[in-house]
């Protein structure tokens, strides 16, 4: 994977390594300047081994997630690239007819034959070219193949005619074991079949198979079985429309001598394309593509017949596509992993606050004997760096293991479509390591500075810190003291102004910040930054910037106002308002706030983080009400009451710890439930019976054996015609040739184009999401299509831009200004062009197909208009509607049709079966995604572990007292367990609640893309699983410290200080 987020991985590596180097240099400077602090810090590490392990686990999680995401990208990139190299072999480019078109880019119209002798002319022209070492004409046709002896057939097989004399330039055909096949030496009437076809037909060397071309059988003897590649007819292509377009269609192949196939097809002296091999092997040959394309362009300009030939650098495109696909996955995993990384950052912060709490009296002593706050912070930074370097190393290694696990699951999920082989690169690991070290280091710096602030006396005597209360009350009762304390800063103001404003404005800004922070805390600065973002977002109509700014501004205001107003009131009302902002639909919030447009997937992360932050604030400042309820419950079970009393008391008093732990659980569960809810609702919307558009079976005709009328073809066969209610026909053209653009645009995009016949229009059950103004009903729209006017309906996907940047950049996208959210829209025109004939037509779009009819993709024209523009279709699909009363099984009926027309090579499939396969695939993928995101739960669990272990140490004396006054061991253990479970439950339920509320707002409120959801489905089993798993794991995590607490020796604990 060479790029991510549009940046080169090498650039990213250099940047993150530089940041890491700066971090390490900071620690090195500390070590050089103050060896005592350096040694003290490092000697702290082995003091508590169990705690050190827990810290390492906590610190490694961010790196683990980053490494797992990057390695997953590498794995996919590598696997797809390997598959590309495998299937293309030494073929680097193909040359094919592009027609007389002025369209931009390369268009391949493979159906138009070209002069095979062009290969000879090019060979002569390129004889001295160092970048190209092979040119070969190739003829292909699609035909059904049958092995009568085994009773097996394949409806669509690519028969490839190869020039045996030129095969050595392409590395010859080879068996799966790599042995060379003597293609030239095969006896007449022999063929080489791909290994996949051999498996499908149960045929081996020496067996006889039959292919049917235009209905005529042609017997061939299998001369050898080759590894599937483009030369043996094996290829993968995306079908352009219909349910089959959901997945990749694998075509199986037969390689035959070129002249034999030319003779069979009547295309003497012609080829479908010319394969070009670059100098070098399979992989390094692709690196010469640019030079080869340049040479080919020059050569084509010089040879006769070269002017209508286009160059398709298919290997380079495929390799780039693999990288894009890998990057898309990495981006997706990283974005989803951001929730866990955010929780991880919180965990790191909490770990260091805990360490500081544990060493408070030591730190107080250190301060008393002359160490500065800076020294304490430096000590923590040094210690943290040591943990960080080790933890990131373990995290990167564990991330690779997780990615390999993901690869294994993906491999099973994708089945035969793509073989996934685990693969990691040092570059990605280095990026993950450096990024993990840097993120952790920066968090450690923040935590270290925060931890170093302590009152010396209070720290030595282990009394509660007073500064938080003082800060809150500062303006009310000790303003004079603060003014006095700030006097030195005020006195420096003129000097600072004079010296720094002129020379170093930034330094002055820092000073000004310090000054205001002294008097007013962080609130005003955060408010100003937030307002700046919000204004920027308003000006640029950018929802991300506005929402981030507004959330920060309100946070800053709350921090400021709590100095004057009751903290509970400030946090509850401020956080409540912000939750309303995030949860209410935009059309409601827009009545009081500026309309800042729609957000992208980044909004999921921002909304998640802020909703969790604000809900946690509300919980923590109103926890007494919540735990009061738990206490009431406890009263009903008197034996539990002592434990409940303790369990609810501690979280209430440690708002910071409990709040951070709740937030960690909450954010991860929020992400998990959001993904589960959104994916479930999409599945419910897109992959239901409605998706089939009222049809039961899709029959795809073979181009070599065209079928005009399926009903007629089936007449007289064993297929029960009485079971058929209707047959509709949709013609299409291959996607590379489907050129579409908006009037006024220069470039053409590609989008599936279909021509539907009257029967299809009459019998399909296709609801429209919205229709053009002037049409009173969906029927009126279909009526207009039936009448053969130049009008069309289009599916909703045409209105979606690609959010993650991993899709086809040449895909057609409908005009931005068309709003399909309402009942009607302004009809708009599109231009269609036939790449073959060059003919351009303007069509008016009058309807948008409902998103629930997900098997319909593309533009649907009246068949007459389609035929007018494109002439002969590249592909014809027939749709069969069965009589419900016939009670036949769709899959069996499809098999009957395919069997009856096997010599025509039709492929018949049950549409519902395809939809169910897609459901299974989608379900597996999202389960995998949730599994990855579930890693974040370990952050919450580690936090609970840290808090619980720390609590046992901190409360040792209190535990002793409780045991002395009569708390049984079980009660002590139960109070620890309950405390953790209450914290985890609050976090989990908050996450679930926020996620359901936001997803309901997005889905039911119509704010989720262009799909029109009619219902909101709650994935109850998944949510239940998340809740149970999180709480069970939380209980397990607390079990050891709880047991430890219960077995504390009483007399020893009472002496403990």
């Amino acid at each position: 994977m060479s790029d991510i987020f549009g940046l080169s991985m090498t650039t990213i590596l250099m940047v993150v390594v530089s940041i890491m180097a700066a971090c390490l240099a900071t620690t090195a400077v500390i070590g050089l300047r103050n060896r005592v602090i350096f040694k003290m810090a490092l000697r702290n590490i082995p003091r508590r081994r169990a705690q050190t392990i827990l810290i390492m686990v906590g610190l490694m999680l961010s790196t683990l997630i980053i490494a797992a995401a990057l390695t997953t990208g590498d794995t996919l990139d590598h696997s797809i690239t390997a598959s590309t190299y495998d299937s293309l072999g030494e073929v680097d480019e193909t040359l094919a007819y592009v027609g007389e078109t002025d369209s931009e880019g390369v268009v391949s119209v493979n159906n138009v034959p070209i002069d095979a002798a062009l290969a000879d002319r090019l060979e002569a022209e390129l004889a001295d070219n160092p970048d190209i070492d092979g040119v070969m004409p190739v003829l292909t046709v699609s035909a059904p193949a049958v092995n009568d002896a085994a009773g097996r057939s394949e409806p669509q097989v690519v028969v490839t005619g190869l020039d045996a004399a030129r095969l050595p330039d392409f590395g010859e055909l080879r068996t799966a074991g790599g042995e060379e096949i003597d293609f030239a030496g095969l006896p007449a009437g022999s063929a080489v079949i791909s290994d996949d076809l051999a498996a499908a037909l149960d045929a081996g060397t020496g067996d006889r198979i039959t292919i049917y071309y235009e209905g005529q059988p042609q017997e061939l003897t299998v001369g050898a079985v080759a590894d599937g590649s483009i030369l043996t007819g094996y290829q993968q292509q995306m079908a352009n429309a219909g349910p089959a377009s959901i997945g990749e269609v694998e075509l199986l192949g037969v390689a035959v001598p070129l002249d034999w196939l030319q003779s069979l097809t009547g295309l003497e002296g012609q080829a479908r394309f010319i394969a070009v091999s670059n100098a070098g092997g399979v992989e390094d040959g692709a690196e010469r593509t640019d030079a080869a394309v340049e040479a080919l362009e020059a050569a084509l300009a010089n040879v006769e017949g070269g002017e209508q030939i286009g160059i398709n650098p298919l290997k380079q495109d495929a390799v780039e596509g693999a990288e894009t696909f890998g990057a898309t996955f990495t981006t997706l995993f990283l974005v989803m992993g951001l929730f866990s990384i955010a929780a991880g950052v919180l965990l790191i912060f909490m770990i260091f606050m805990m360490l500081a709490a544990e060493r408070r009296s030591e730190m107080g002593m250190a301060r008393a004997v002359g160490m500065t706050r800076s020294h304490l912070a430096q000590g923590f930074i040094t210690e943290g760096t040591a943990y960080d370097l080790g933890a990131a190393l373990i995290g990167a290694a564990a991330g690779v293991l997780v990615a390999f696990g993901i690869a294994t699951v993906l491999d099973r999920t994708l089945g035969d479509t793509l073989s996934i082989t685990p693969y990691a690169t040092w570059r990605s690991l280095a990026v993950a390591y450096a990024l993990g070290v840097s993120v952790t280091f920066l968090t450690i710096i923040f935590a270290s500075v925060r931890s170093s602030r302590l009152n010396i006396v209070a720290a030595i005597r282990d009394l509660p810190e007073q500064d938080a209360e003082e800060r809150g009350a500062r303006p009310r009762w000790s303003w004079w003291r603060q003014v006095a304390a700030g006097a030195p800063l005020l006195a420096r103001l003129p000097l600072e102004l004079l010296w720094n404003v002129v020379l170093i404005p930034l330094k002055f800004l820092v000073f000004a910040f310090k000054l205001q922070a002294h008097y007013l805390g962080w609130g005003p600065s955060i408010t100003v930054v937030g307002l700046a973002f919000a204004l920027l977002g308003t000006a640029a109509t950018n929802m991300f910037s506005f929402s981030l700014g507004l959330s920060l501004a309100v946070l800053g205001l709350m921090l400021l106002l709590r100095a004057w107003l009751p903290t509970r009131l400030v946090y509850t009302s401020g956080a409540g308002l912000m939750l309303l902002y995030w949860l209410l639909p935009p059309d409601v919030t827009n009545t009081v706030l500026p309309d800042v447009g729609d957000g992208g997937p980044e909004m999921l992360v921002v909304s998640g983080i802020f909703m969790v932050l604000y809900s946690t604030l509300i919980i923590m400042w109103n926890a007494d009400l919540i735990v009061g309820f738990v206490s009431l419950l406890g009263r009903s079970f008197s034996s539990w009451l002592p434990a409940v009393k303790m369990a609810v008391a501690y979280p209430l008093s440690s708002k910071g710890r409990a709040g951070m732990t709740i937030a960690m659980f909450s954010i991860v569960v929020f992400a998990l439930v959001m993904v589960a809810t959104i994916s479930t609702n999409f599945r419910e919307l897109l992959l239901t019976e409605d998706a089939a558009a009222g049809w039961d079976i899709e029959v795809t005709a073979n181009a070599s054996n065209p079928i005009d009328d399926l009903g007629q073809s089936l007449a007289g066969t064993s297929v029960n015609a009485d079971a058929i209610n209707a047959i509709g026909r949709v013609d299409g053209i291959s996607e590379p040739n489907s050129l579409v653009r908006n009037p006024g645009d220069d470039a053409w995009g590609r989008y599936p184009i279909n021509g539907a016949d009257q029967s299809y229009i009459d019998n399909a059950v296709v609801e429209l999401q919205t229709r053009a103004e002037g049409y009173e009903s969906d029927e009126a729209v279909w009526q207009a299509i039936s009448s053969g006017h130049p009008v069309a309906v289009i599916d909703y996907r045409a209105f979606e831009s690609d959010e993650f940047g991993g899709g086809d950049s040449e895909r057609y996208v409908a005009p931005d200004e068309i709003d399909i959210g309402g009942d009607t829209f302004q009809p708009f025109e599109i231009e269609l062009q036939s790449a073959r004939s060059g003919r351009t037509e303007t069509i008016t779009v009058i309807g948008v197909i409902d998103s629930s009819i997900s098997t319909l993709r593309g533009i649907y024209l009246p068949q007459a208009v389609f035929a007018d523009i494109y002439g002969t279709p590249d592909i014809s699909r027939f749709y069969v509607q069965l009589n419900e009363s016939a009670g036949v099984d769709e899959a069996e009926f499809a098999a009957d049709i395919q069997g009856a027309l096997r010599t025509s090579g039709v492929r018949a499939e049950s549409i519902m079966e395809q939809i169910e396969e897609q459901q299974a695939f989608s379900s597996s993928f999202f389960t995998l995604m949730q599994g990855f995101m579930g890693l974040g739960l370990f952050v919450g669990l580690a936090a609970l572990g840290v808090v619980s272990f720390r609590a046992v140490v901190e409360r040792r004396q209190q535990i002793g007292m409780l045991r002395a006054i009569g708390y049984q061991r079980g009660m002590v253990a139960a109070s620890f367990m309950l405390e953790s479970l209450i914290t985890a439950t609050l976090g989990v339920l908050t996450g679930v609640g926020m996620a359901l509320a936001l997803s309901y707002n997005l889905i039911a409120g119509g704010n989720m893309g262009d799909e029109e959801f009619t219902t909101f489905v709650i994935p109850a089993p998944t949510i239940a699983l998340v809740i149970v798993a999180a709480l069970a794991a939380a209980a397990l995590m607390t079990w050891i410290p709880a047991r430890k607490a219960a077995t504390v020796p009483v007399s020893e604990a009472l002496r403990y200080e």
């Binding site: 009393k645 440690s654 409780l962 006054i965």
Partner: protein, 259 residues
């Protein structure tokens, strides 16, 4: 050896004289082992305490005062010997039974109060009642009454951090007495207090001892505190070296408390 023999003689005499014993310890041995170091914390201690008696255990640091208190109260196990509390051998009880016994029959006062910082004064006081499965309403009422009794009625809803040292120790005493225990064990109850507050706390304990006839065993190194009790038991190197009855002091204290 002489001291030990003296002590044993005194104890035997006392045992013969006092019939209503609530604490009876005989040849109690407790040894701590930390790595290669062995500390003989108690070396064959005999001690009898009569019901309603208030005794002080005194001695230099490390002489075994607290260990003796913990061993007698069942907070710690002993290596050999026997301890009977109201005729009950605590060593023969399981941990759960011993814990239940403590909850119902004993109260504890510690030097550093050992209050739960996350609970208010009244919640701290009601803890032993909660453990004893007293109904929540009744527990709260009794805790409030006990706080009134120690003069902290107005401070019931304050947390320990909001109270002075003396107030905290009063809360601890209220907690120790709220379940009406037979014995109150106090380990350096005034050790963290100034002398004026220490006197107040001792006066309070003496008054409660007088009115409720509860037995108080107080570990202290403060001679002034010891002199306020009925008897001073002195320890040295894990053994009881003297046991001085102080009936006059007790009467004086009672009189002072009555005033």
């Amino acid at each position: 050896m002489t001291a030990q023999l003296l002590t044993q003689t005194e104890t035997t005499n006392r045992r013969a004289a006092v019939k209503d014993l609530i604490i009876s310890a005989n040849d109690v041995v407790k040894t701590y082992r930390t790595g290669a170091v062995t500390v003989n914390a108690l070396r064959g201690v005999d001690l009898d305490v009569a019901r309603g008696e208030m005794i002080a255990i005194m001695g230099p640091s490390g002489c075994g005062k607290t260990t003796l208190l913990n061993s007698l109260a069942g907070l710690d196990t002993i290596d050999s010997g026997r301890v009977l509390i109201d005729g009950q051998d605590l060593a023969g009880l399981s941990d759960a039974e011993r814990t239940r016994y403590r909850a119902q029959r004993m109260g504890f006062v510690f030097q550093f109060y050992n209050l739960l910082p996350v609970l208010s004064a009244v919640e701290n006081v009601e803890l032993p009642l909660v453990v004893s499965k007293t109904l929540p309403k009744e527990a709260r009422e009794r805790a409030h009454a006990m706080l009134e009794r120690v003069g902290l009625g107005r401070w019931a809803d304050h947390r320990p951090a909001e109270l002075s040292g003396g107030q905290r120790q009063r809360v601890t005493i209220a907690r120790a007495l709220v379940n009406d225990p037979a014995i109150v064990w106090a380990d350096e109850p005034t050790g963290d207090l100034d002398s004026e507050t220490a006197d107040e706390i001792m006066d309070l304990m003496i008054e409660l001892n007088r009115t409720h006839r509860q037995t108080f065993v107080i570990v202290t190194h403060d001679r002034r505190i010891g002199e306020m009790t009925d008897r001073i038991v002195r320890m040295k190197d894990g053994q009881i070296v003297t046991s001085d009855d102080r009936p006059a002091a007790r009467e004086a204290s009672k009189a002072a408390a009555a005033e």
